[in-house]
């Protein structure tokens, strides 16, 4: 099981703040996970169309080739705007 979190404008676009996902076979990286989420269609296509979306694995920033595995906490969000 994967814990997925969505923040800020992405959360509003998806209408979802979090979900638990049974990790489908063949999905080993952030980029593959993005493609899987985009395949849901509708507002989820943002995972394919938005170049600026960021990801974190277990609360550390992660690139597209970062590995994901069962038990991980994976977050997606727009570029940060604090300070």
């Amino acid at each position: 099981m994967l814990k997925l979190l969505y923040f800020a404008s992405l959360r509003e676009t998806l209408g979802s703040a979090r979900e638990d996902l049974e990790l489908p076979t063949g999905i080993d990286t952030i980029a593959q996970l993005r493609a899987h989420l985009a395949s849901r269609g509708g507002s989820w296509q943002v995972f394919a169309t938005s170049k600026s979306l960021r990801a974190a694995v277990n609360q550390a920033m992660a690139g597209g080739d970062a590995p994901v595995k069962a038990g991980d906490e994976v977050a997606f969000f727009p570029p940060v705007t604090g300070g």
């Binding site: 923040f7 800020a8 600026s52 974190a56 609360q59 550390a60 977050a75 940060v80 604090g82 300070g83």
Partner: protein, 149 residues
Amino acid sequence: MNEVSVQEADFDVGAETVALSAGDDGAGAVATFVGLVRGEGIRAMSLEHYPGMTEKALAEIVEQARQRWQLRRVRIIHRVGRLLPGDRIVFVGVSSSHRHDAFAACEFIMDYLKTRAPFWKKEETDAGARWVDARESDDTAAARWEGAD
């Protein structure tokens, strides 16, 4: 005291500044930065963050600053929730033996915070609410520290 706080409550700039050198006669310099909510046509600003990751990201930024400069005390306070124009958003304070380290580390911490700590701002205006876009100038400001000291 924790070096890093993420909180809804306001903070006391005077008390936080004093605490950076209280009882430490090796401190020769204290540099602080306070970020505020600009008016500019907005009625309010809401700050959201990623609890857990935010604290880790800020602690990591402090650690990087400590590796670059000789620092004594570091303090970061970042507010979340709904804020009004003029409200304080963020406090960064650094003490060191000499001013250069305190000035540089304070600016470094702010530059990295703006591009690496998971906070997001949403503005309320007369025309409705809108998420604030990330600025390229913030990335440029953070990037100038790469390879510098």
